[in-house]
Symmetry: C2
Amino acid sequence: MTAIAASVLSSALHWRYATKKFDAAKKIPTETWTALEEALVLAPSSYGLQPWKFIVVQDPAKRALLSAASHGQRQAIDCSHFVVFAGRKNYSETDLAHFIARVAEVRGGGTGPLKGYADIITGTIVRARSAGLLDAWIGKQAYIALGQFLTSAALLAIDTCPMEGIEPAKFDEILGLPALGYTTLCAAAAGYRAADDKYASQPKVRFEAGEVILRA
Amino acid sequence: MTAIAASVLSSALHWRYATKKFDAAKKIPTETWTALEEALVLAPSSYGLQPWKFIVVQDPAKRALLSAASHGQRQAIDCSHFVVFAGRKNYSETDLAHFIARVAEVRGGGTGPLKGYADIITGTIVRARSAGLLDAWIGKQAYIALGQFLTSAALLAIDTCPMEGIEPAKFDEILGLPALGYTTLCAAAAGYRAADDKYASQPKVRFEAGEVILRA
């Protein structure tokens, strides 16, 4: 693996900000967008379960509806590509079996040798379900993917805006997610900042490193 | 902003895997680690609240205790740098005021013009608290930071292992987090894969892109 320079990472992360106003005329080139979809596909998740769907919404009519279900935020309309992050509801043993079958398919050897692994995951699922935390645990995984997406985009010089201020139930309806058994967790707009997005030039606000990084 | 090539991103994300066995003799150089701490500090969060602490644990005795509280996983001991991601419990209006003061400090202009912004955030906090979802919402933010950390590390050719299979209550005690009002959410080991980590050479298992990426 050839590493990028630490200074390249640092400059990309400083450059990134939550873009409020996108230049609606600028579209992300295909090769770049393909790399960002790959970043979603390759995102890490607990046990590698990938309990998610990423809905890339390019239909202008749907984008308008999603904007209305986001307190009218224009990012959903003006950005180049709009992604909704959805998580599996009531993740089940059937979902797990589907995942284990995929592991066997990719790595070979059948599902037999994977039984121990599957049992461990089943234990985690059962415990989370009993504690009423199953959807919450599954949902958190999508935030790892969101983080990977935002970081990857910055390194490709693509602007993004992560969006939590949305109405998940309305998003679900607009995108037909209930029928699939998935639910909206968050979204991200991607594209290019408008020349007059006033937020672009505001200093980034972070606590001092010494306040958020503790040593033990 | 100078973008990295899409192929560089792709190759880093393919190279990344959840490292099970670290080479305990190899340490991350200071400049590289500093960049990774910066990736944590700069991680995105809802409203920019940064409701977290990142505990970098380098004390071998504590690392041994954390390993024991992680079902004996050796990564906590053998990695170069071990980070615990903690979230604020019962995020309060006092926490928000501290954040708003920081915004004013960095951007100037006092807190007066920020009142509208603070009121919006207060509304979100109050609604989350009423719904019993405050800690869950705050906790999800740390997973964005985890995603940014894992992606950044891969680009710097640093191996990582995200860890959820830990006992948060024991982590909290070992690190003295209850007194600070924070609680453990997840952890990440960082360093270099051991030459004999058998997981390094296993094909990465992902569903087909067409299964996880939907179009609308």
